[in-house]
Symmetry: C4
Subunit: 191 residues, 4 copies
């Protein structure tokens, strides 16, 4: 099976997710600075989620460049990832509109960790239909960054109940960690 | 005629349908677990519909891999399928927000059955412009799974008036039945 | 210049237009037939617009199959068409929610006629960068169907002020007229 | 790395932005001309933004035709541009619904200038991974039009506090300036 339509469909879904999140920023009725102020936390949570969805698109893009072929299981692993990404607009809106209240930050982290798990499953399902010495297998390697991210999320979610801003800080650190696209794959593809 | 743009357009429409369904999950005003609770049925109906739309995308993907060329009638059969799929966000929201009330479950089943009929029409219109011994014709075969699904829907819709949860269970069974992508086509393409 | 990205962008915009129209069908609060009844005119106007946008996509698809190359002017003629198509969700919602009131039907016709004019301009801009004996020029021919449609719209708009349902009937006739995709182009491409 | 998916993803995001802006034009409850009248400023701001987003798509299209390959930094420069474009629906709605009030026009200009800066950064990041005598480098040249636009925005934003309509006029002038697609790139590609 070709990977073209899987890429096109994923691009479409991710493009829509990253764009409809902005609809949570409701146009205010006033026309002064004061009427914009309540939107600041909504805007901040939008920026964080935009960066996260951007990271997933970038990594998805890098990952599939090393992919040769896909199977039925990969299609579902990919849809599973898209499912968790599709919850970003909801948790982003809830967190932003409630000024980063504890439970909202914890749920946001819950979606982050599920998306990360789904991405890991997608990678495993791809490895399962490539040989052990394929470019993809070499490119993934031990996946340290992935495990570190999962660890930080697992720390941030319970912390959110007492120190939500610390959790937001931790989530942002993971984002910065991933802002650099996956060099491993670029290196292996060039070599 | 090439099938490329038909695939791209279908991918776009299905990507939007699967994503805007999440907009029915309105961000709650409270910040505790109690405020999330009324969203549970909305979330459940979202999950069911996400899986269904995912199945249609997967099967569409598999189907068109065996397709060699398309005609004008195929374009309209495809748009007819997309029309019924486009009603998913509406019936999903209605069913979820009303906690799976009888009529909402029956209408949901009505859209399911119409989408299944539309898919069957699409398959017939494709067979009509391929030879009887084409890879597509071999891949479709007697289409038992399709007929079983139609039968279960036809059973679930009247049942919903008395036992809506039984109908939801039946719809979910059909979804599980289809979660495995259409092996027939994979087999024939490989052979 | 290649036509690929113009096709992809148009597919994306048309896919979104055809799908977000369904958002005008607001999920009702009741769970009986009576609560669905006020949605009937909204549903009818949705069906009409779905068919119209589907026709535009089909014709766009057929048209660009005969196109060899595009220029800057074509990009803008295409965006101009997409602009008028983007007003479909608004006029569809207004007409449906107000049960086909005179002015709403007239405005709907106004958008129909502007979209038809924009399509004609797009065809002219394409002819301008192809030779007089190109497949495209042969395929377009005298464009009788286009002129008839414009005439019917021009009749339907003023009529809507007194007999809105007659106008809706006229608009539907034009839709039926176009349901058959543009055979001219298929014929010329095959020949 | 190939540029295909970057183009496809950008097309998707821009297609959604240009289309969801129309959702800010809320369907009015009345059915006479008077009920349409309050929508006029919303419609005008929609037209202006449609033209602007159309210009960005056109220029993006032209720019990437001259691009041979992309790197990780280009992906992020492109997402940065899409971020500012994604704020168009919000500022368009705010400006239109408040009849071009001073602060709303200034903020609209702020998003315009940030999008222009982001586009400039994208161009620089592309030049950084092409040689000094590449078709792209020749096509960009001194980029006078880009600098003039930035200057006019910088003038229009403070002016908006006293004469919002003058600022809207200035923004419109920049749009007209860019309506002609980037001839530089077409010329170099042909030569």
């Amino acid at each position: 099976m070709h990977k073209g339509r899987l890429e096109a469909f994923s691009d479409g879904v991710i493009a829509i997710i990253i764009t409809i999140m902005v609809l949570e920023m409701k146009v205010p009725h006033g026309t002064d600075f004061a009427s914009l102020q309540p939107l600041l936390p909504v805007f901040l949570s939008y920026v964080l989620s935009f960066v996260y969805v951007g990271i997933y698109w970038n990594n998805h893009h890098h990952l599939f460049q090393a992919v040769k072929h896909v199977k039925g299981a990969v299609l579902w692993a990919n849809l599973h990832l898209l499912f968790w990404l599709s919850l970003f607009p909801f948790v982003t809106g809830w967190m932003g509109e409630n000024h980063f209240a504890p439970l909202t930050v914890a749920l946001y982290g819950g979606v982050l960790i599920m998306a990360a798990v789904a991405y890991t499953i997608l990678v495993r399902s791809l490895l399962a239909c490539h040989e052990a010495d394929s470019a993809l297998a070499k490119a993934i390697g031990p996946d340290t960054k992935g495990w570190v991210s999962l660890g930080i999320y697992a720390l941030g979610i319970p912390l959110a109940c007492w120190f939500p801003w610390v959790s937001v800080g931790l989530y942002s650190c993971v984002a910065v960690l991933w802002l650099v696209p996956d060099r491993r794959i670029e290196k292996v593809l060039v070599a």
